[in-house]
């Protein structure tokens, strides 16, 4: 499937708006400035996922994910390095107990943080694209993001040939934390998104 420059610019612009809203929600939560990188938007083959996520190759990331389906299917995820995850919990609830590990209580807290950020992101994106989406509850997984999101080439030996991988990195300098926001659109709805995005982008211009 082709991905024209116009389509690429269009989806990048939309994602940028949505990521801005997500960052604002995190800002409200932490009362601290969030710095966002420009989102990267890539159409990737299963064999390229590990390259696209090359700096997320670590088995200890804290991942909060929410799947969506209906007209578009995919997953949105907040990915945090372990120390950043614990730092966010400490900042929010003052919990400093055995900072080496996550227990079910703290996983619940991370789920809420992820939920707030992902809902802000996906709420805007779904509205802009005018696509009804049905969401799962957030779920937590600790591990390599490629595995958690089912992007390993072995797992992806399924019907899918490509995915749209959207990614923004953020930092919260005040708390020395960082993380990534990922949205993956699976193949089925890709053409629809791209057409829709290009339409909106043309109007914005």
């Amino acid at each position: 499937m082709d991905f024209s420059t116009d389509e690429h610019d269009a989806i990048t612009e939309l994602v940028n708006i949505a990521m801005g809203r997500a960052a604002a929600s995190l800002n409200d939560l932490l009362q601290a400035t969030i710095h966002l990188s420009v989102p990267t938007v890539e159409l990737t083959e299963p064999s390229e996922f590990s390259v696209a996520l090359s700096n997320l190759q670590n088995d200890e990331f804290a991942c909060v994910c929410q799947d969506f389906d209906d007209n578009l299917a995919g997953t949105a995820a907040l990915i945090l390095p372990p120390d950043s995850a614990l730092k966010l919990i400490e900042v929010l609830v003052g919990d400093q107990y055995t900072p080496e590990s996550l227990d079910s209580i703290r996983v619940g807290t991370l789920n809420e943080i992820g939920n707030i950020v992902i809902n802000a992101l996906m709420g805007v994106l779904a509205n802009l694209l005018d696509q009804p989406l049905r969401f799962s509850l957030p779920y937590f997984a600790e591990g390599n993001p490629s595995k958690v999101l089912g992007l390993e080439p072995a797992n992806s030996a399924n019907t899918e040939t490509a995915m749209l991988l959207i990614r923004t990195n953020f930092t919260v300098d005040a708390f020395k934390t960082c993380g990534s926001l990922l949205v993956i659109f699976r193949m089925g709805g890709l053409k629809r998104i791209l057409a829709k995005a290009t339409g909106i982008y043309d109007r914005l211009e």
């Binding site: 929410q66 969506f68 055995t98 209580i105 789920n111 809420e112």
Partner: protein, 531 residues
């Protein structure tokens, strides 16, 4: 209340669910309130349905709830509320009066013929989890505090022992030095006997102090083994020589057995290996009145890089029962406390041996039979040189014994002795004068610097702890003088730690002598630096 197409009746099934279930419409009016929530709050469904939830639970007016629930009402993704951030969603207490802690999810429920959705909240009581967790947190904090206090106490004890050892060594220097000097004067046989015994006892006391210092260093984790190349035969020769006289005095035969496969050049800590062997040999001599003592060395495992050696010391002494053997390697433990009276010792020796052997990646054990004898054996790991036959590199060791004509060459040398303690001044001065040297005294570092500026010296002996200006600072000041740049400065201190020697070198000193001053070592140092 606005009528809704989403009939609350269809939710009554949730009365049978053991979770709080609550249905809200877009203006925050309660549409359904299940049985579980009635039980938690005492509020009956008919008392709350149709009213805004914030009438009873004002926390729902907070922005954290309203803005996120609005997302759900507009058909957005579900929202989750965690127990750590919110603690209580529906404010109510447990039967014992503690707050009921909850977490919740809010999911959009589409309403036929309407654009807005309802929000179905499922509220899960996690009080037990939270309270147990908080209890463990408290216990954890207490344990951490207790651990820190214990570690602090150990550090304090080790520092105390190190300081005490310094304080004890200073007067011991005077005792050993004075008895040494007195023994070289004209004495009648009775006086000589008394003084020899006093000198011997002082040396024994110093040994005990060194044991306590070693143990405190091991406990504080400060004892580090050296990794230098050494000849195993040299170590075995010296330890056997050390106990040979005592063994001979008791009529004991001292034998060595050495299996052919034992490598000669090893890399490890020869001093600590000697310490263990001397301890075991001394015990063997102490507890045997007849027969023989055998020191056996075998190689248990050998490969290109390392060797595991087994050393054993067998005697034909009084022996021990199984029970006595069991606690033998514990600190302050002796097989029979009454043996202390007859045989002496602090009970520290074997526990130090055990710690040292473990630092050498080995283990120590004992076999014994009452009236037959005991056999102590231990294993230790050493690294091997690439080529076992290669000569050992030169070692930084005690200076070797001086040649007789060397003594001639140091005659008349001028020495500056920097020392604040009067007795120690006297001891060192007398020892040096006896060797034919001219000695000037300085009572502190400041006076020493002044003396060096005025007079040409061949060597300075420098105490470390002194009033006004300490030995380190004085050395730095002397090194800053034109005439002091090359002048040999030897630290003379009761600080026996290895790090103290390093400090002396870092301050610019050439050597380090530990008090009490050993006359032979003193002479060797003089010969090395004054020639």
């Amino acid at each position: 209340m606005t009528h809704s197409a989403d009939s609350p009746e269809r939710y009554t099934l949730y009365d049978y669910v053991p979770e709080g279930v609550l249905l809200l419409q877009q203006d925050m009016t309660v549409l359904f309130w299940n049985r579980c929530l009635e039980l938690w709050t005492g509020l009956k469904r008919e008392q709350i349905v149709g009213q805004p939830i914030s009438v009873h639970f004002p926390n729902f007016d907070k922005q954290t709830f309203t803005s996120r629930l609005q997302g759900v009402f507009s058909g957005g993704p579900p929202a989750v509320f965690s127990s750590q951030i919110h603690r209580q969603i529906i404010r109510c207490d447990l039967p014992d009066g503690r707050p009921r802690i909850q977490k919740a999810t809010a999911t959009a429920i589409p309403v036929p013929n309407e654009t807005d959705c309802h929000a179905l909240m499922i509220i899960h009581d996690v009080s037990d989890l939270i309270y147990v967790n908080e209890k463990y947190q408290r216990m954890h904090r207490e344990l951490v505090a207790a651990k820190e206090a214990a570690e602090e106490a150990t550090r304090f004890k080790s520092n105390f022992l190190a300081n005490m050892s310094h304080e004890i060594r200073t007067p011991m220097n005077a005792v050993l030095g004075m008895t040494h000097l007195a023994l070289q004067t004209q004495l009648n046989p009775e006086q000589e006997d008394y003084l020899k015994k006093a000198h011997f006892s002082a040396k024994a006391l110093l040994g005990i102090i060194d044991d306590i210092l070693d143990l405190s260093k091991i406990e504080a984790g400060k004892l580090k083994l050296e990794a230098t190349s050494f000849q195993l035969n040299d170590v075995l020769d010296s330890v056997v020589n050390l106990v040979a006289d005592k063994a001979k005095g008791k009529g004991l035969e001292l034998r060595r057995e050495f299996s052919a496969n034992v490598p000669h050049t090893l890399t490890g800590d020869p001093l600590r290996l000697s310490q263990v062997l001397v301890n075991l040999l001394n015990n063997a001599v102490k507890f045997s009145d007849r027969g023989e003592i055998v020191l056996t060395t075998q190689a248990l495992a050998l490969d290109g890089k390392g060797a595991c050696l087994n050393f054993s010391v067998s005697d034909t002494g009084i022996g021990m029962t199984k029970e006595e053997c069991a606690g033998l390697f514990q600190t302050f433990n002796q097989a029979d406390t009454s043996t202390t009276r007859k045989y002496g010792g602090t009970g520290l020796g074997l526990s130090i041996c055990k710690e040292l052997v473990e630092l050498m990646d080995g283990s120590i054990e004992v076999e014994s039979e009452v009236g037959v004898g005991s056999s102590f054996s231990f294993t230790a790991h050493f690294e091997l040189e690439e080529d076992d036959a290669a000569p050992a590199p030169p070692q930084p060791q005690r200076p070797s014994a001086p040649e007789p004509d060397a003594l001639q060459q140091i005659q008349g040398a001028r020495i500056l002795l920097v020392e604040d303690n009067e007795i120690n001044q006297l001891v060192a001065k007398k020892m040096l004068e006896r060797l034919g040297l001219t000695v000037d005294l300085a009572e502190n570092g400041q006076l020493a610097v002044e003396a060096v500026a005025k007079t040409a010296y061949n060597l300075i002996f420098m105490d470390i702890q002194m009033p006004q200006m300490d030995g380190y600072e004085a050395t730095r000041n002397i090194r800053a003088l034109e005439c002091g740049k090359e002048l040999p400065i030897i630290a003379m201190t009761a600080h026996a730690m290895k790090t103290d020697a390093e400090k002396s070198f870092n301050a610019g000193m050439n050597g380090h002598l530990t008090k009490p001053i050993d006359p032979e070592e003193l002479l060797a140092t003089l010969c090395k630096w004054c020639m």
